[in-house]
Subunit: 236 residues, 2 copies
DNA sequence: ATTTCAAATCTGATATATCAAGTTTCACAC
DNA sequence: GTGTGAAACTTGATATATCAGATTTGAAAT
C-alpha cells in the first residue's frame, strides 16, 4: 500500500486522496454531453457524429467513444451497431427518470428508517432544522446545498452503496432552475414540509411511512421541475 | 429513408432489421465480463489490466475500454482515474441489485395496472394460464421462457421504455441456476402463485396491489437465487 | 536494517491510423 | 420517370502508437 498518506511519524488518520478529483477528458465530455442532453440542447433522434464531436471538444475520438458508451448505458443515447448513436431523451424520458428516482429513493428511505442509528437520527434532525431556518430566511443557495446533504445523509444511513449510485444517475436537476424553484416561497414551504415528514418518519423508524413520504416528495418536486423545463405536468 | 424494407410492391408493415443483431467486439466483451463478474469469477477489489484483458480476448484495447465504461456505469466496476478499474461486486451488491429491481418492477407494475388495455389484459391472462400448465407439467424450460414473456408484457403494458431498460441492468440471473430453481416443485408453485397474484392485480387495475405483489415476488425470488449462489439469505 | 529517491517499468489516457459497413451520388438502362 | 448499381464518400469499429501518471525497483546514504 501507499505510504504517502500514512507517514511513519503521523497518526495515519488522513483520508486517501480521492482519485475522482482528477478529471479526465472522457469525464469532462461525459458530463458536458449529459448536461446538454438533459437540458434539451439535442433533439430526440438526433444523430451524433463522433468525429465532429471530437473536433468540437478539441480532442481525439477515443475519449468521445468512451463518454458515449457511458451515456448509452445511462439510457440517454442509443447506439445502433455500425450506424452510430442517436439521442434518446424527451419529456417522457425525463418523467420516467423521476419515477425511477422515486422508486429507488423510497426504497432507500425504507432501509434508512430500519438501519439508522442514534447519531444518524441526531444528524438528520440537525439537517432538518437548518432547512427550517434557510426556508424561513429564504436562503435559496443554502437550501440547494442542504437538499443534497439531506438526501446524501439518508443514502449513507441506508448503507446502500449500489442504490445510491443508481439514484445519482437519475438526477437531472439543473442548478439554475433549482434556484428558481427555491426562490418561490410556496415551493420552498412545500419542500420543507416534505423533508420534515421524511426526517420524522426515518427518525421514528417507520419504514413504510418513510417510503411513502419520500416517494411523494420526489414525484411532486420532480413534477414541479418538469413543469418548468417542459411546460407540462408529469403524472404517476 | 431506406427502401429495402419497404418494397414498392409490399404492404410496408415489415419491421426494420434491428441493428443490435450485429454483435460488436465491445458488446461481446461487455457481456462476457458482466457474466463473469456476476457469477463471481472475479474477486471484489481485483484490479483489471486493460492490456492483459485485450490479449485474453485477442483484440485491441479500444473495445475493452468501451466495455469497461459500460460496466462502470452499471456499477459493476469502479474506475479510479489513472489507476485503472477494480471489481465492485459482492453478495451485498447483488442484494442491492435485487432491491433495485424490486423497486423498479413494482413501479412499473403500478403503471401497468393503470395503463393496460383490454388486449393487454387478455394476453396477460393467457400467459398466466400457460404458466399454470407449465408448472403442473414441470416444464422448467418453458417456465424460464414464460417468466421473461410475463415480465416483458408487463413492461410493455406500462409503456415505460426507460424504466424497462433500467430494470434490464439489474438482472443477473444465470440460466443454469434458474433451471435448478424451477426444477423444485415447491419453488415452482410459489412463483406461480405470485405471478397469478400479480396478473390478477394488474388485470383488475389495482395499481397498489400490483405494486405490492410484484415487489414481494421480486424480493422473494431474488433471495432464493442469492441463497443458492451465495449460500446466504438476503433481507429487506 | 531502514530510509530515500531517482531510474526503470507498468499501465491507463489520449491520439492517430486503418478497416469495413453504411450511405449517398449519379450515370445508365428500361 | 423509375429503378439499378457501381463508385465515391462517410463514419463507426478496431488496431496501433504515443504520452504521462503511478508503481516498483534498487542502489546509495544513514
Amino acid at each position: 500500500m501507499a505510504t504517502a498518506n500514512q507517514p511513519t511519524s503521523g497518526n495515519g488518520d488522513f483520508e486517501k486522496i480521492d482519485a475522482s478529483f482528477q478529471i479526465t477528458v472522457r469525464d469532462h465530455v461525459h458530463r458536458a454531453m449529459r448536461s446538454a442532453i438533459i437540458s434539451g440542447r439535442f433533439q430526440p433522434g438526433q444523430k451524433i457524429n463522433e468525429r465532429k464531436l471530437a473536433e468540437q471538444f478539441g480532442v481525439s475520438t477515443t475519449p468521445i467513444k468512451e463518454a458515449l458508451r457511458q451515456l448509452e448505458t445511462e439510457g440517454l443515447v442509443e447506439a445502433l451497431a455500425r450506424r452510430g448513436v442517436v439521442i434518446r431523451f424527451s419529456s417522457s424520458w425525463a418523467e420516467e427518470m423521476i419515477l425511477a428516482r422515486a422508486a429507488l429513493e423510497s426504497m432507500i428511505a425504507h432501509l434508512a428508517a430500519k438501519r439508522i442509528d442514534e447519531n444518524g437520527r441526531e444528524e438528520l434532525r440537525a439537517i432538518a432544522n437548518r432547512m427550517k431556518e434557510a426556508t424561513a430566511s429564504g436562503d435559496a443557495d443554502s437550501l440547494i446545498t442542504l437538499n443534497e446533504t439531506f438526501h446524501d445523509h439518508i443514502h449513507r444511513s441506508s448503507q446502500c452503496g449500489y442504490l445510491a449510485k443508481l439514484i445519482e444517475r437519475q438526477q437531472f436537476y439543473d442548478a439554475s432552475i433549482r434556484r428558481v424553484i427555491h426562490l418561490d416561497p410556496t415551493e420552498r414551504q412545500k419542500a420543507l414540509n416534505e423533508h420534515v415528514a421524511i426526517a420524522d418518519a426515518i427518525a421514528a423508524g417507520d419504514a413504510d411511512r418513510a417510503e411513502r413520504t419520500m416517494r411523494d416528495h420526489v414525484v411532486r418536486s420532480g413534477d414541479t421541475y418538469l413543469s418548468i423545463v417542459f411546460k407540462k405536468q408529469g403524472e404517476i
